[in-house]
């Protein structure tokens, strides 16, 4: 393996990891507010199909991404109303959202199957893209990849350094206490869920506008689920999510690369790499002495109804 090939592999790992990064960032914000949304796959598919439809009919990629974001948050709004307003079970509602989104996206997209669009062109960032190796890996992508960099940095600051982040965490850790000090718990959760939906929408748009610029049924092929694992894997930390997304991206293409290089390992074994990586990291996490810090938001998955408050 020469340096050029390694550079190209890492470049591809970032591309493959980007949709995972988008959904996982959305999901982590949602989970930090104490809500577990398993509807990622459904929201992502709806984002992908609506984003593609919008870009295809208007010819504007920007509108495609915007439409995907709106669609993703609308899907998550259904979930939010059921879970927050009606107190439905989060796991069951999330699963239903995935199944609903999978079917609806196939139905909505049946008219544009087989159409293609131009897709986002890569943009070389001046100066930065000329850094040897690093520039090749990081700064020769399309605009959505750069957007994912920006959102990661922004979220890192918002969650860790601002009052908004504190409010979000308070709601997720102890909604009763948060409610007692006057935080509108349901409102925060609504916003967190819809942010998650919008991010899943962009992730879908990334699939249908950039990754394979066309719409095909079920094109996300399980990435929503991988992202859910990724959030746990990253122990709910923004920085680790970014790293984890690229690691998962790398693991999922590595078996293809190694085959091309003529390694005579069973591709079935190689295809397991992402999952093996997950298990290994899970083991490392649970062996950590500072377990306390790594735990999930304490009220994750538990319903909160302000009317029951004493």
């Amino acid at each position: 393996m020469d340096a050029d090939l390694i550079t190209q592999i890492l470049f591809a790992a970032i591309k493959t990891g980007t949709p995972l990064l988008f959904i996982a960032l959305g999901e982590v914000i949602c989970e930090k507010s104490g809500i577990l949304n398993l509807g990622q796959e459904g929201m992502m598919l709806m984002g992908a199909v609506v984003g593609f439809l919008a870009a295809y009919t208007t010819g504007s990629m920007g509108l495609g991404v915007l439409a995907a974001m709106i669609m993703g948050s609308l899907m998550s709004l259904i979930f939010a109303v059921l879970v927050l307003q009606l107190g439905a079970n989060q796991v069951a509602t999330g699963l239903a959202l995935t199944i609903f989104g999978t079917g609806l996206s196939a139905f909505v997209g049946s008219g544009v199957v087989g159409q293609t669009i131009q897709g986002f062109a890569p943009i070389d960032i001046p100066l930065l893209s000329e850094i040897p190796y690093l520039g090749e890996i990081l700064f020769k992508h399309d605009i959505l990849v750069y957007l994912s960099f920006a959102i990661t940095i922004a979220l890192y600051f918002v969650v860790n350094k601002t009052r908004i982040g504190l409010t979000l965490k308070a709601v997720g850790e102890n909604p009763n206490a948060a409610n007692a000090i006057g935080i509108k718990v349901l409102q925060v959760r609504y916003l967190a869920i819809m942010f998650g939906g919008a991010m899943a929408g962009i992730a879908g748009a990334y699939m249908s506008l950039v990754y394979t610029p066309m719409w095909v049924e079920n094109m996300t092929s399980g990435r929503g689920w991988i992202a859910l694992a990724l959030v746990v894997f990253a122990s709910w930390r923004i920085g680790r999510i970014m790293l984890g997304a690229y690691l998962f991206g790398l693991a999922s293409i590595m078996h293809l690369v190694l085959q091309g290089l003529g390694w005579s390992i069973s591709p079935n074994l190689l295809a397991m790499l992402p999952y093996v990586a997950t298990v290994i990291v899970m083991v490392i996490i649970s062996a950590d002495h500072f377990k306390e810090k790594l735990l999930a938001p304490r009220s994750l998955g538990k319903p909160f109804d302000p009317r029951n408050m004493a």
């Binding site: 090939l5 190209q8 592999i9 591809a12 493959t16 196939a106 997209g109 049946s110 199957v113 087989g114 293609t116 897709g119 699939m207 990754y211 394979t212 610029p213 066309m214 095909v216 049924e217 079920n218 094109m219 996300t220 092929s221 990435r223 999922s252 293409i253 293809l256 690369v257 085959q259 091309g260 290089l261 003529g262 005579s264 069973s266 591709p267 079935n268 295809a271």
Partner: protein, 355 residues
Amino acid sequence: MKMKSLLLSLGLLAGASAVQAEDPLKVGFVYVGPVGDLGWSYEHDLGRIGLEEHFGDKVETTYVENVPEGADAERVITQLAKAGNDLIFTTSFGFMNPTVKVAKRFPKVTFEHATGYKRARNVGTYVLRTYEGRYVSGVAAGMMTKTNTIGYIASFPIPEVIRDIDTVYMAAKKVNPDVKIKIVWVNSWYDPGKETDAANALMDQGVDILIQHTDSPAPQIAAEKRGMRSIGQASNMSKFAPEAHMFSVRDNWTPYYVGVAEAVMNNTWKPSDYWGGFKEDMLTIESINPNLPADVKAKIKETYAAIKSGELKPFTGPIKDNKGNIVVPEGHSLTDEELAQVNWYVEGITDEIPR
């Protein structure tokens, strides 16, 4: 149609009454991918539509798409049989065992399974001579590659795929003795994301011609983006890669579906193992890109004609496998039965077949 296939898959139509003599022939189709895959399942569905157009009111067709190979397939096939279909086409290799199993329970229903090798009193099989298309692909790829490296995106290590890899390599080597082939297995018939990853991984490693044995047009798009060349699989994929696309080897199932339906209507159907290729127009070469050099275009047409007329048989000895054993002796061309059992790479392919 969509609704009907949905109801069928939910089992709501199960138990519908048996067919009367003057009723239309009811024909069911089981697809492994979505009809919108624009590859394998899409072409089978065009075959189904062709069947309807040919017979009009005399046939009534339904299909179930996206059927996973395995236990679900058995359930779907059973429901199609229970719903009163007289003839059922199961269109993927992995439907073989479920088809044979269900056929035992429904002796009055005729089953036709694509690409398999298990037959029964009411189960026939049919397969395309895809290797004929691969031979043309190999010749064109061998002439066009500048890096002397052809990339092959493979699905599952079954005889059909292994046979096609062998053919591409043998044909390419005829016109370009220095050619190498890199093979990547994606373990899926249809996964646009993974097919894109595989295409990029191959191109990262010096491949400049992509041949795919998977069903989505994703590898075409990947080749177009990077200015490489590609050959379309199963359906006409030219519109996905106007510059990159060299030509497509298209499947055409209509003649076969019409023939089988007619035989069932006339009570002349018998189980057989049918092989169709260039000669029967069940495989066609479409949309040869005008941007190819004239000698390549001519060679494509010439090779096609030679195979079609039977003058050129790709698996004619002497052929050695990559361990040095003679697998096809001199003067022998593999019979259909032998072709169905090819499980060796030809001499010169340095990979191992995954087990």
